[in-house]
Amino acid sequence: MSAMQLTEDQRDAMQEITNIAMGQAGSLLAELLGNFVNLSVPRIKVLALAEVARAIRDMVGSDIDVTAVRQSFQGYLTGEALVIYGQNGCTELGDLMGYDEELDRSEETELLLDVSNVLVGACLGGIVDQIKNLTEAHGTAELGFSAPSVMAESVPADALINPDKLSWTHALLVEVNFTLEGRNFISHLCMLMPEHSIEKMCSILDRFVESY
C-alpha cells in the first residue's frame, strides 16, 4: 500500500528522533550496567506485514534460532515492541546484570524480561520525550507499558512472526542493534505499530520537519 510509505523527510525526521532516543538510552544503559554500550544507527522501515517476517530474518540471520520478548505500549502511540536475541544473545546476561550465582531457568527468564523492558522503555521513552513538544494540540504525549512476556524461545527466525495470525496490515520497523563492549550480547529491537498509530506518527514527523 503506497499510502503507508514514509516520505523522505519523514524518514529523516524519524531517523533523527530515534538516533537521539537511542543515544540517551545508550548512556542510561551504560550507567545501569556499568559497561559501555554500542548502539547501531537505527534503520527505519514501514513494512507490509507479510514483509516483516523476512525483514526480521534478514536482520537476525536465517540460520540461527532466536528468542523474543514482546511488550505492548499504549497511550499516545499504540503498538508492540519486540526484542529479539540470537541464540547466544542471552548467555552473558546474568553476569552483565550483576547476578553472581548460576541462574536457574526462571531467573534467566526474569532477567531476559528485565533487560527487554529496559531496552524498550529507554527507546520509546526517548522518542516520546522528543515528540512531546510537538503534540500540545493532542494533550500530553505519554506512554503506558504492560508487562513484557516471552513470545518465543529458540525458534527459527522466520517462524517468529506469522502474518496469518495478526490482524495488522503494516508495521513500523525500527531496527536497533545493541552491542556491549567486550561482551557477547547482541539484540534487535523492533516496534510494530498499527496503521492509525503510524499515521499519527507521520503527522508528528511533519511537524518535526516544519519546526526546523
Binding site: 542510561l28 545501569l32 527468564t109 524480561l113 528485565d114 523492558n117 529496559v118 522503555g121 503506558g144
Partner: protein, 331 residues
Amino acid sequence: MNGHITLNDSPQDINLPDFIVKWVDVGIFVVNKKMEVTLWNNFMCNHSGLGADAIVGKNLFECFPELPKAWLSKKILGVFLLKNFAFTSWEQRPYLFRFPHNRPITGGVDHMYQNCTFMPVKGAAGEVDSVCITLFDATDIGISQTALKKAMKSLSDSSNRDGLTGIYNRRYLELRLSAEFDRCRRYRDQFSFVLFDLDHFKRINDTYGHLAGDEVLRVVSSHINSLLRSVDVMGRYGGEEFGIILPATPMQSALILAERIRLAIEQAPVAYKGISIPVTVSIGIAEFEPDVPNYEHLIGCSDRALYHGKENGRNQVTCYTPELESKTASS
C-alpha cells in the same frame, strides 16, 4: 477502620482518587529514593498486618527484612534512573511480599502469587521523585495455570507414550526424528538413527505365552532405555521393533553404543515366573547425511541394515552403507 468512607458522605467531602487508592483491591505503595515508604494503601495494610501509620516514613527494608533487598533495591533504583516502568511476574518470581492468600481452603499454594508494576512518579521538572508499586493478586491465575500445565503434560504424556512399555510411541518417535532431521540439515549437524528388533520374538510368544512376551518387551525396552543418554530418544516402532535417535552422534560412536546394547541384552535373560528367557537383538544403524532426502529414507536405511543382520544370523549390529543395497539386491 480509621478514615472509612461511606456512601453517605456527600461527594464534595470525598477526594475520589484518594478513596480509590485506599480501597481498590490492588496493593499500592510508594517509596522515595531513600527507600522510605510514603504511601501504603489498605490492601497492603490488610495483607501485611502493618498499618500505614506503622510504616509510612520508615525504610521499606527495615520494616520487611525478608524482602530480597539486593535485587529489589536494584530494581527500584533502575526505575529512578531510567524513568521507566518495570515489572515482575508470578511466573518467574511468585511473590514480592510473603502474604497469605485469600483461598485458605481451595488454594493448594502457600502464598499469594503477585504481579507487580513499578511506575516512575515524575515531578513537575520531569525528575522521578518516587516509585509507585502496584501489586496484583495473581493467585487465581497461578492456580489455574498450574493445573492447566499439569493437565497438558499428562495429556501429552499419554498421547506420546506406548501403553505396554511406557517408552515413546511410534508417532512421537517419528515427530522427534523429523525435527532432528530438519535441525541437522539446518545447522549441518550430525546424528544417527538406530533400529533394533528382538530376535525370534514369535518363538518366545509361542513357547512361553503372550504374557511372557509382553514382559520381555517391557524389561528389554526399559533395560535399553537405561543405557542411553538423556538426550537420546527411544520409542517403540512396531510390535517388537524399536527406534533410537542419537543426537550429535556419528556412526562410529553409535556402533559402540549399539554393541554395548546388544551385549547387555544377550547377557541378561528376562526372568518371568521363575523361568529365565534368553533374548537377543539385531540392530541396524544409519547415519544422517545431508543428501538423504527425508527422515523416512533414513528409517529405510536402518531397516535395510537390520534386515541384513537378520539374514546374517541375528544377534549382531550392522551399519548401513550403500554397498548393502547391492548385496541385498544380488542375494
